[in-house]
Structures are given as structure tokens and as C-alpha cells.
């Protein structure tokens, strides 16, 4: 990774560490899944807000990953129970 890179608009990289882009909270090495260091919440999609998400089916989840430092919502995933988190990592440049 170069000094210019980040993991996403919400997760920045500072000296090889993934950090919350809003508050700088450390989220572990950028080469490892940062979600392991985030606060995770799983809610049924139907309860995510508004009416359009309520499809009348159970088992569809919306996952939120928050910054433990400032509670910024860093990422979302649609998921079914038990499916692993989606991991986005940067690699060291060879």
C-alpha cells in the first residue's frame, strides 16, 4: 500500500494500520480484516428502517460495522445468519 491508499471512504490507513476515517480509532493492521476490530450489529432487514426493506421474509439480515471510537457506520452487508463477514484488506506492495 502507498501513503495515499485507504481501505474505503470510511476506513483510512495510517502507518500500516486501518483506522476510522472520522476519528482515527485503530482497527488493526490494514493487511488483516479490520472488521474484527469493529463493533458489529445484525438486525433483520425488515427492521432496518422505512417500509421498503420489509419483504415479508425472515432470515434476511443487515449487518452494520461501527467504529468503537466514534460509532461511525463503517460498512454494511446484507447477509444470512452464519455467513462470514466480507473482508477487504490491503496488501504490502512487493
Amino acid at each position: 500500500m502507498s501513503g495515499q491508499d485507504r481501505i474505503s471512504a470510511s476506513v483510512a490507513v495510517k502507518e500500516g494500520q486501518a483506522v476510522c476515517a472520522a476519528c482515527g480509532h485503530d482497527l488493526g493492521p490494514a493487511t488483516k480484516p479490520w472488521k474484527d476490530h469493529a463493533q458489529r450489529r445484525e438486525i433483520p432487514l425488515a427492521q432496518a428502517g422505512g417500509q421498503a426493506y420489509d419483504t415479508g421474509h425472515e432470515g434476511v439480515l443487515l449487518r452494520h460495522f461501527y467504529c468503537p471510537g466514534c460509532a461511525a457506520l463503517l460498512d454494511t452487508e446484507t447477509a444470512m445468519a452464519g455467513d462470514p463477514a466480507l473482508d477487504d484488506i490491503l496488501a504490502e506492495r512487493g
Binding site: 422505512g50 426493506y53 484488506i89
Partner: protein
């Protein structure tokens, strides 16, 4: 070579594709080709590799290359000037049987120098359901005529026996004839123009320019990849059909100037026709790759070279014969489109230089609804509900997605006017508009999708029937980025009129719930739209970008005023309080603060 001549030849190759597309649309004259722009024309080099892809349904560019290559293999030594080959077998190269490829060798002074290829979605292919999408097909054998390669035109002469055999297997053979004629005319134009280009500049010079063009695209794409960070990005799509859900899992790895798309872990092939073959998956991942990463690079073989795909055999993204695939283009292929769009969007977002090119997933879920039946004039009418081409834009890192703004894999598309549909089909719309809360919330909101309701109107048979391949009404498929929510999923509802004999509704300003009757979800198969019943369809919005609680409260207010976001979502998701149509700033701050503290009161991540 001389950069001036190169520039001239390059420009002319673009125009040749354009002229061929015009010819295709002219001769075909069908709505799906002309309105939906469900077509593709491209040029290939003598060995079948992609030379120049046009703006059409982009997931065909690589499949048609494979079609050329398999024709070369099959007919080696027996390919002659003026021949045109037909290929539509998905297990050879095609996406599904109703997207027929016609490929033509282009000769110059007796030597094979290039190929042209095109497709249209033909009117019918003789599958178990009319229109080509066959939700009731259990296998490829019931999905209509299919050929791994057959000579349709020999030395400029139509092989009438072959044509008659094909037409003997389809509904509406006259319309299919016209589709085939349009593709023949299109290939003829491409061939004539390529030949005169070679006559003017010399075959060797043109071929040199083509080689240069391919190498240039490769160099440019590799240079762009090197500018992007190395890493690994994941996405996942859930495809639900008839109560079953299949996963498409993708891990995209970028290292130096290479890009690997690995679909390992995707679910086994489905009993339903949403599967796709490996050539279709390859096309599916390139459809977003071309416009997102190569917007300023010529779309050809050079872009393919740095890319590798891993797709496990027997999975939904690389199914084995005789799995049915007729709904692939709006099934697994679209999920591959979406998954690739999502990982590419993430990679672009990780780069300082390219973050503005990053986008959440656009219109992730087509709904193929083919209406068929007798219309008000007593004639037969069959046609797709073109709202499926209307789409919705994904949010970008700097702006909201475009409301009902189309899709990435088909840059040029549009839907028909309400009046056009009502003139041709015995139906009446109760409403057609943007669907509130359909765009994925975020700091930048996904573009809204739309909603419509249809009732029978002046139908001689009391209504019509429709084939619906409507998967994906459980899971949102337009993923968000960087904390943005996904766009809301599709919804298909059959509103059954109450028994008390009330009249067909004439208006429903309040939307779905204002239509009286009982609501039943439909998604897969053939259904009636009869009597006083109504069909409601909502299509998905684009994914959002960034945390919704940092969205500018003024933007939320204006969304609510425009009916794009409900008051409830404004409060629950965006944390914005409105009072008398204005933002209550104190209340909004308090609300957002309480949302933040509620977030951290959860159990820590395991």
C-alpha cells in the same frame, strides 16, 4: 506505426461498429432492440480475439469472442468469404438461447482477416415459455432451439433449409426472421466497411493498427492497475428464486498489474434457470469492468489479458449441462455483474486518485415480465415490461445515484412511455413513479427505483397473462459502499380484488396499499392479470455510499419533500427531525447523537 494513420484507423473502427449498430436497429425494428438497446455489435481479429467492443449489453463482448473462437475450431479449413455462422448454445459460448450470435468472417483478397459478431434478443426461441425467459424450464432441453455453431449463410447465400428448420421451432417465425435479417445486414455492413478500410490503408497496415490498439489497451489497463492499491476485496450476492436462495461469492484480488476474480464458495447450480455458464460469468464480470476501470481505454482483448477468473465447476456461476440457463442474463450473470461492480467499487474507493470513479451497485435486479394475450384491437400482443431497463444509479463517493438512472452493464437504455404500453396492451397504469425509500440510504443516497401498478383495461379476454422471472424479492442486491445501505429489493404483488364486486380501481394515489384487495407476492412462473385484479411492481434502487447519519439534513429534507424518502426513514435511518417541512436542527443533533450511542451499546464484535 505512423500515429496519424493509427489515429484515423482507430476512429474508423469505432464508426464501423456504430454504423453496424444503426443497421441492426433499423432492420430489426423491435422494441427490445430499439428501446431496451438489448443488442451488441463488435469486431474481432482473425483469431477471434476482441478488437473493438461497441456500446451495447456489455456482458456479451467476451462471450461473442468465444463464439468466434469456437466457430474457428469447429469449421477450421471450411470458413469462406460471405459465410455467416449462428451460435446460441450457452454451453459453447452464448449467454442463453434467445440471445443469438451471428458471426461473420471478414476476408480481404481471399484471406481471413477479421470477424464481426452481433446479437439481439430474438422474439422467441421456442422455449417452454414464450419470449425466451423460461422460468418453467427444468433443463436446457426445454429452453428452445440451441446450436453450438451452424452455417446459416454460405458464400452470401442463405441456407434456406437451415433457416426453415430454425423457424419451425419458434413462435412468431416472421418476427424471428426479421431479427435474423437485421443481424445479417449488420454483419454485412461491418464486413463491407472493414474491407474498404483495408483497401484504402492496406490489410497489413490495418492489422498492425489493430494489434497496436490491443497492446495499447493492455498497457493502459496494466498501468491503471498499478496505480491502484494491492489488496483483496469481497462481495456476495443472494439470489432467491421460488423460496430457495443461492449465493454468488466473490473475492477479487489485485496484485501489481493483475486482477483475479475468484468465485470459489458460490453455491451449487440451481434447479431453476437462473444459472449461468462460465463464458457468461466471464462476460458478467467484464460488463462493469469496462465502464468502471476502462472508461477511457478501448474495450478489447488487451483489457482481458490482465484478468483471470476462477469459477468452480457445477456452481451457479459455472453450471454443467443440462442445467437450465434461460434466465441467466437477469439471474446469475447479473449477480456476477453486481458482485464485480461491488469489489471494483471498493478497490477504486481505496485509491486517492480514483475514489471519484467508485460507485455503489446500480440497478442490481432485472425483472423479466413478458405480457402476452389479445389486446384491445383483437390482435396478439407479446412484449417485455420495459421498466426493467429503467434501472437506478448507485451512489457515488461525491454524489447521489441517479434516480431511475439505468444500469452499468447497458450504458444506453430507456423505458417506454406509459401511453405506448397502453396503446399496445389491454392494460392501464394506476401510477408509475419513483418508489420512496427504494434508494439505499447513505451520506450519498442510492438513486431510487420505481413502482407501478397495472390493471386490465378494455381487454377482450378480460385481461392478459404474463411470464415473470422475478427472482430477488427477498434479498437486496444493490450493495452499498463504505457504510451506505443497500437499495431496497424488488417487489411483485398480485392484488386480488375483493369479492364484493367493487369496480376496477381508477386511481391509487396512495400507492400499493390504496389498491383494494388482498396482496399476494408472486415471483416465478406464469400468472394471470384478469378481471378487477392489479399487478404491482417495485424495482430496486441503487446502493448508498457512506454513513446515513452524516448526510446533509437539508438533502434529507428535500428528499422527503420530493417523496423519495419517507418521514419514518428520515428519522430512523438518517436521524433527521423535520418540523413543518423544515429541518429541526436541535432535534436532529439530538437524534443523531442518540443513534450513535445506541450503536455502541451493542455487544462487541465476536
Amino acid at each position: 506505426m505512423d500515429p496519424m494513420t493509427f489515429s484515423i484507423i482507430r476512429h474508423r473502427l469505432f464508426r464501423i461498429v456504430d454504423e453496424a449498430v444503426i443497421t441492426l436497429k433499423h432492420v430489426s425494428g423491435s422494441a427490445i432492440t430499439n428501446e431496451g438497446h438489448d443488442l451488441m455489435v463488435s469486431l474481432y481479429r482473425a483469431d477471434g480475439t476482441l478488437l473493438m467492443g461497441g456500446v451495447g449489453f456489455l456482458h456479451h463482448l467476451t462471450s461473442a469472442a468465444e463464439a468466434c473462437k469456437s466457430i474457428i475450431r469447429r469449421f477450421e479449413g471450411d470458413i469462406h468469404e460471405g459465410d455467416i455462422f449462428l451460435l446460441n448454445d450457452p454451453y459453447t459460448a452464448a449467454l442463453h438461447t434467445s440471445d443469438i450470435y451471428l458471426v461473420s468472417p471478414i476476408h480481404h483478397e481471399g484471406r481471413l482477416v477479421a470477424w464481426s459478431a452481433c446479437f439481439v434478443h430474438v422474439y422467441d426461441i421456442g422455449a417452454v415459455n414464450p419470449g425466451g425467459f423460461a422460468p418453467q424450464a427444468p433443463d436446457i432441453y426445454t429452453e428452445g432451439f440451441s446450436s453450438p455453431g451452424i452455417r446459416l449463410v454460405a458464400g452470401g447465400e442463405m441456407r434456406q433449409d437451415v433457416l426453415d428448420t430454425i423457424l419451425n421451432m419458434v413462435r412468431s417465425p416472421e418476427m424471428v426472421t426479421l431479427d435474423l435479417r437485421s443481424m445479417i445486414a449488420c454483419n454485412n455492413v461491418a464486413r463491407d466497411r472493414m474491407q474498404s478500410l483495408m483497401t484504402k490503408y492496406g490489410a497489413k497496415e490495418v492489422d498492425g493498427a489493430c494489434a497496436e490498439l490491443v497492446n495499447q489497451s493492455e498497457d493502459l489497463f496494466r498501468a491503471r492497475l498499478r496505480e491502484l492499491p494491492d489488496g483483496q476485496w469481497q462481495s456476495r450476492q443472494y439470489l432467491d428464486v421460488n423460496g430457495e436462495t443461492a449465493r454468488v461469492n466473490l473475492t477479487m484480488t489485485k496484485k501489481d498489474d493483475r486482477l483475479i476474480f475468484d468465485f470459489s464458495g458460490s453455491d451449487p447450480q440451481s434447479p431453476y434457470s437462473i444459472n449461468c455458464t462460465k463464458w457468461a460469468s466471464l462476460g458478467g464480470l467484464f460488463a462493469p469492468l469496462f465502464p468502471l476501470l476502462c472508461y477511457d481505454i478501448t474495450w478489447n482483448e488487451g483489457v482481458l489479458r490482465p484478468v483471470e477468473m476462477i469459477a468452480p465447476e457445477g456452481s451457479i456461476v459455472n453450471c454443467t449441462r443440462p442445467a437450465p440457463v434461460s434466465v441467466a442474463t437477469v439471474g446469475a450473470i447479473q449477480s456476477v455483474n453486481n458482485a464485480a461492480c461491488s469489489t471494483i467499487g471498493k478497490m477504486l474507493g481505496a485509491s486517492e486518485k480514483y475514489r471519484n470513479q467508485s460507485t455503489a451497485v446500480w440497478h442490481a435486479n432485472h425483472f423479466a415480465i413478458f405480457k402476452f394475450g389479445r389486446n384491445q384491437k383483437g390482435g396478439d400482443s407479446i412484449g417485455i415490461l420495459t421498466e426493467t431497463f429503467a434501472g437506478a444509479g448507485g451512489a457515488r463517493s461525491f454524489a447521489d445515484g441517479v434516480e431511475i438512472g439505468g444500469e452499468i452493464p447497458n450504458p444506453i437504455s430507456r423505458m417506454a412511455n406509459v401511453e405506448t404500453v397502453e396503446a399496445a396492451f389491454p392494460v392501464r397504469y394506476l401510477f408509475r413513479r419513483r418508489a420512496p425509500d427504494s434508494g439505499g440510504p447513505g451520506e450519498y443516497r442510492g438513486g431510487t427505483g420505481g413502482e407501478l401498478a397495472l390493471v386490465p383495461h378494455k381487454a377482450p379476454d378480460g385481461g392478459i397473462n404474463y411470464v415473470i422471472s422475478g427472482k430477488g424479492s427477498r434479498h437486496p442486491m444493490s450493495e452499498g459502499l463504505a457504510g451506505g445501505y443497500p437499495g431496497a429489493p424488488n417487489s411483485y404483488v398480485w392484488v386480488k380484488a375483493p369479492e364484493d364486486g367493487a369496480n376496477t380501481p381508477v386511481t391509487a394515489a396512495g400507492g400499493l396499499d390504496a389498491i383494494s384487495g388482498t396482496q399476494e407476492r408472486v415471483s416465478w412462473g406464469v400468472y394471470p392479470l384478469m378481471g378487477r385484479d392489479a399487478l404491482y411492481v417495485r424495482w430496486n434502487g441503487g446502493g448508498g455510499h457512506g454513513d446515513p447519519i452524516v448526510r446533509d439534513p437539508e438533502a434529507v429534507r428535500s428528499d422527503v419533500a420530493a417523496g423519495l424518502v419517507t418521514l419514518q426513514s428520515a428519522g430512523d435511518i438518517y436521524g433527521v427531525a423535520l418540523r413543518d417541512g423544515a429541518v429541526d436542527e436541535t432535534e436532529t443533533m439530538a437524534k443523531r447523537k442518540s443513534i450513535r450511542s445506541a450503536r455502541l451499546q451493542q455487544e462487541a464484535s465476536e
